[in-house]
Structure formats: C-alpha cells, structure tokens
C-alpha cells in the first residue's frame, strides 16, 4: 500500500534516512534544521538505533566518522554555520574514504547571518569546503518528496563510493509542508554493499587500520590519484538533472532547490506569454550536469541562472558553456528570494 502523508521537509529527511537504514544519527541544535534533530531523537530511539545530541557540530561529525568506520550507516545534519564546523571531519572522512551523510539546511550567511533559507553554501559544498583535494557528491532536493528520496539515495551513494555525501537543502524546504510518499522498503539496516574494510575487531582476520596520514614518499600522491579515479567515476555515472521545455527554448533558466521551484513558475508564466523559455534543474550539484549545459550552449540565446545567493552556481554554468553562450545571473543574498516577475522581465530583456 502507498502511504502519502503530509510532512515537513526536515522530518522527511529524517524519515528518508531511517528508511534507508541509518543506524546512527548525531546532531546539534541549530535553526532552521531543529525539527530534523528532534524528529531523529524520537524516531531513532523508537527503532532501537543510536541517537546522540553531541556537544558540538565538530563532535557530531567525528561521531559519524566513528560509527561509519565501525560499519554503520551514519548521518549528521546542521545548517550553514554548523556545516562550517564540520568541514574538518568531512575532509578526514574523504581522506579515510568513509561513507556518511551530511545534511545542510542552509541559512543566510556569512557569519551568524540569519535563519532564513538561502543558497550561499554552494561553493562550500561543491568546491571542497575543508582542506585538501577531495570531492563530495552533493544532492539538491527541490521538494519535500525529494528531501525524503534523496536522503535515502545519499546513503546508497555514500556506501557505493566510500565517500561522504551532502544533501544540500535550505530553510524553506526544511520548513515546507508537502505530501510525501513513504516507500516502506525493508529497512536496509545492513546495506547491500559489502564492507570489507571496517574496523570491528580483527577476529579471524588480519588487523586493519584507517588513516589519512601518509608520510612515505609518494604515498599521499598515489592515494589522491586513487581518490581521483573515484571522482572521475562519479562524474561519469552519477550526474542527475531535470530539464523542462528545453527543445524549442531560446532561454534556459538554471536553478536548483528552492530556486528551481521559482524558476518553474517563471517558466510557466513566460510560456503563457509566448516566451520560449526552458528549465535546467541540477539535482546533483557535484558532479555538475555540465553536459546538458554544453549541449545547449550553441543553440540557446542565453542562460539565466537564478540563485538565493550573490552568484555561485553561475560560475559552473559559465564554465560549462565555455564562452559559447551568454550567461546572465539574477539572485538575492542573505535570505532574499528571487521574484518571479523579475525573472520574466529579465528574460524579456535578454531576448530584446
């Protein structure tokens, strides 16, 4: 039977994790993601799994590090300033090749910023965030249903590649209520991926070690090339993007998450007015869907990138066009929300 229940985005993330077999959740209070931590505090205990309110975001990510190296599906969540604190741990996880899911319900920044939804952590999520050469898979839900679905998928991807995965949403999606179809898949407590690298005591096998310190000459270079192979494979295999009305479009709007919803409305209004506008919605922000941008760069008159920031993803769109098509930007930082009317007006201006 299919359950469709009205759910808050933050709760949907939690339930998505639980249905995907998340065995351990570690959190720390921060607005606008508190409903998620509170939801997990109740649900994880109900399911007989591990929940800890950590003393800091730094401790929370390191608890994820520990649970993950012991073989468990583990997760933490926070909002922008808290995600900054987790970067050290994320870098270590990437270096040690530990899977794990990190949810960022973005708020306005820099600094303490505000508690409104924002999209100003795109650079942090997609370009490294912490120190060292590494990449994370970054998933960007645009509905409460996707908050649920992509959190589950994040666990599968994390295990598949032995790599941390970020779910990058925002305060609006976190607080939003929408119907969600709960897939009652048998909770995959033991993920299907065989983990022959975990530390669970060396009974019947040689001792193992997990580390990112590689001091022998050339050892770290070799390790990083190995990681790079994995990143190349992700780029080949994991790109997800939704396109709409692109076929006859003259202008393509590009937006992710909440911005994509605004773009959709602007596209529909534009179409009703006879404007040939389409939409590209990246679902993976890393790997970035550069191919669909590149394929349409010669044909389109322009791309218009919409973000709740001063312009971050726009750089990736520009790179993908490689100068073959003009790229325009309209965004609002600090918790501001791009306006549909302004988007339509901008498209008109571009086409004039």
């Amino acid at each position: 039977m299919e359950d469709r229940i009205l759910m808050k985005g933050n709760h949907a993330v939690g339930e998505g994790g639980i249905q995907a077999g998340c065995q351990a959740y570690f959190g720390y209070p921060i607005t606008p993601q508190n409903e998620l931590t509170q939801y997990m505090a109740k649900r994880m205990i109900e399911e007989g799994r591990v929940f800890i309110q950590a003393e800091s975001e730094i401790a929370a990510i390191n608890m994820v590090f520990g649970a993950s190296l012991a073989g468990a599906r583990a997760m933490t969540s926070s909002s922008s300033p808290g995600i900054s604190l987790k970067q050290e741990g994320i870098s270590y996880m990437a270096g040690c090749e530990l899977p794990g899911v990190i949810v960022n319900i973005q708020r306005g920044g820099p600094g303490l910023g505000n508690i409104a939804g924002a999209q100003s952590d795109y650079f942090q999520a997609t370009k490294g965030g912490g120190h060292g050469d590494y990449h994370l898979i970054v998933l960007a839900p645009a509905s409460v249903q996707e908050m649920y679905d992509l959190t589950g998928e994040a666990f599968d991807l994390a295990d598949k590649y032995r790599n941390p995965v970020i779910v990058l949403a925002d305060g609006i999606l976190g607080q939003m209520l929408e119907p969600v179809k709960i897939v009652n898949k048998e909770a995959k407590l033991n993920s299907s991926v065989k983990k022959d690298w975990i530390l669970d005591g060396c009974e019947g096998r040689e001792p193992r070690m997990i580390r990112s310190l590689l001091m022998d000459e050339g050892a770290l270079e070799e390790h990083n090339w190995k990681l790079n192979k994995k990143y190349e494979k992700m780029k080949e295999t994991e790109v997800r993007v939704e396109t709409d009305n692109l076929k006859d479009a003259e202008v393509a709007l590009v937006g992710y998450g909440t911005s994509a919803r605004i773009c959709k409305e602007a596209m529909e209004i534009g179409r009703r007015k006879g404007i040939k506008v389409g939409l590209i919605r990246p679902i993976t922000l890393w790997p970035f869907p550069e191919e669909v941008i590149a394929e349409n760069a010669d044909r389109l008159k322009a791309f218009l990138v919409i973000e709740m920031s001063l312009g971050q993803m726009v750089e990736d769109v520009r790179l993908a066009t490689n100068g073959r098509c003009p790229v325009y930007f309209y965004g609002k930082p600090g918790g501001g929300i791009p306006e549909v009317d302004v988007i339509v007006e901008r498209i008109n201006k571009i086409l004039k």
């Binding site: 950590a54 730094i58 530390l199 669970d200 070690m209």
Partner: protein, 252 residues
C-alpha cells in the same frame, strides 16, 4: 625451558620511531600486554591521536584508526555506540586531550561513555617541536615559552584528570607514571583496570600517564626519569583520583 618474556601478540615487530628515552614505547607495550592478558585483541579497536603517537597504528597488532586532532573521544563514542560488545580505547597526548580536544574529552566523560582513555602527559608538544602544552609546568621552558611558562601570560598547567573526576559520568580516573620499573608495574595495573571496567560495562575510565620526553625537555633520558620525580609529580600527584566502584562500596 619456561619462557619468561616475549613480545605481546598485540604488539607488532615493527621498530618504533620514537626518540630514545621516550615513554610512548613503554605505554604502547603496557596496553598490548593488558589486551593480551584480557584476551580482547580480536575485539579491540584503538584510536591513535594526532601527535607523536599517531604512529601507534603501526605498532599495535589489532584494529586501529586515526582521528583528527582532539577528536578521539567523539570517534570512540561513534564506534562504541554501534558496536557495544567491542573494546574501544583512545590513546591521547596532552595537547590532543586537554587543549584542542577538551570539549570532546569532557563530554565523553560526562555522558559516561563506556570507553577507556589512555592519556599520555609529557608536558610538551613533541611532534611539532617542543611547544608549550596545556600541562606544561610553571617556569618550564618550551619553544613557545622560551623564558619559562608565565601563568600571567599562559595560564596554569591544567589538571584535567581532577576536573574530569568532578563529573558524574566518570567512573575511574588514576594518574600513574612510567619513570621506574616499580611505577611501570603500577601503571600497568591501572591500565588493566581501565580496560576491565569497560569489559564489565562500568563506564568511562581514564588513566593519565606521566611520561618522559627527553627531546622536548632538552635533557638526556636518565635525567628525564628524574625530571618526572622532581618536577612533574609535584604538580601532578600520582594515585587514584576517582574510583566510583570503591566509593559505592564504601571502601574509599
């Protein structure tokens, strides 16, 4: 003929890279002996710190992970909570445990995590070149206190074990040293108890080991063992700081 002495199974044959007179090799060995004696080698997961002892993973013959600087108690929490029947311990220096990782240490203790912490206090940052540690003694010269630690500028040597003993969640805390055969035997007894507590699900145990760092102190190895006696023990007195089991039984 009866074999009286051999390398513990929990210790690899790898030659360690520690300086001559360093206490780490002794403490590594004590842990290996205890793990062997308790028969827990195949269910033990050790956590090596950032600092000289990061290389511990080369010297122990059981599962070992590295943790970011100061984070071992949080990593241990994550492991122990999902593998409750395994034995999880951290091995941490003074900078790791009592400076950058103070919050993780205090809160793991306060939650009463059923883990064991071996805290090696040598009053100096060894790996990075002899800088002031949180436990550096008053007037002790280090590369960042070239005139000696002045409490007006750099505060006081932190008695973290005494502070942790104040927390409801800690069960057993003892300070020992490895500067003589007699003291080393005592140190081993304390380490064994800290592991035994975990096996019996008693909760958070920590053993602070005052350990020699001749290189960091600028003395030769024989003077280093005396230095502990003459200087460190004055600030960091040896003995049981807390034993909840004893208190509960009214033995203390």
């Amino acid at each position: 003929m009866k074999k009286l002495f051999s390398r513990p199974e929990s210790l690899t044959a790898k030659r360690n890279l520690y300086c001559s007179g360093c206490g780490h090799g002794i403490v590594h060995r004590l842990i290996a002996e205890v793990v062997d004696e308790l028969g827990i080698r195949e269910k033990t997961i050790g956590i090596a710190p950032v600092g000289c002892a990061v290389f511990a993973y080369d010297y122990w013959n059981f599962d070992v992970t590295e943790a970011a600087h100061g984070r071992p108690p949080a990593v241990a929490t994550g492991i122990k909570r999902v593998l409750r029947d395994r034995i999880v311990f951290t091995y941490q220096g003074d900078g790791d445990l009592a400076a950058i990782g103070t919050a993780e240490t205090v809160h793991a203790a306060n939650r009463g995590e059923n883990i064991t912490i071996i805290f090696v206090n040598n009053a100096v940052y060894g790996m990075t070149g002899g800088q002031m540690a949180p436990t550096t003694l008053i007037a002790q010269k280090t590369t960042t206190t070239p005139l000696g630690r002045d409490p007006k500028i750099a505060g006081y040597p932190i008695k973290i074990s005494e502070a942790l003993a104040q927390l409801e969640g800690s069960v057993y805390i003892e300070r020992v040293t490895v500067n003589s055969p007699k003291n080393t035997v005592r140190a081993k007894r304390a380490i064994k108890k800290a592991f035994q507590n975990q096996i019996e699900n008693k909760g958070f145990s920590l053993v602070e080991v005052l350990s020699m760092c001749p290189t960091g102190w600028g003395v030769d190895p024989t003077d280093a063992v005396k230095w502990i006696e003459e200087n460190m023990i004055q600030t960091f007195p040896l003995g049981v700081i807390k034993d909840k089991n004893l208190t509960a039984k009214g033995d203390l």
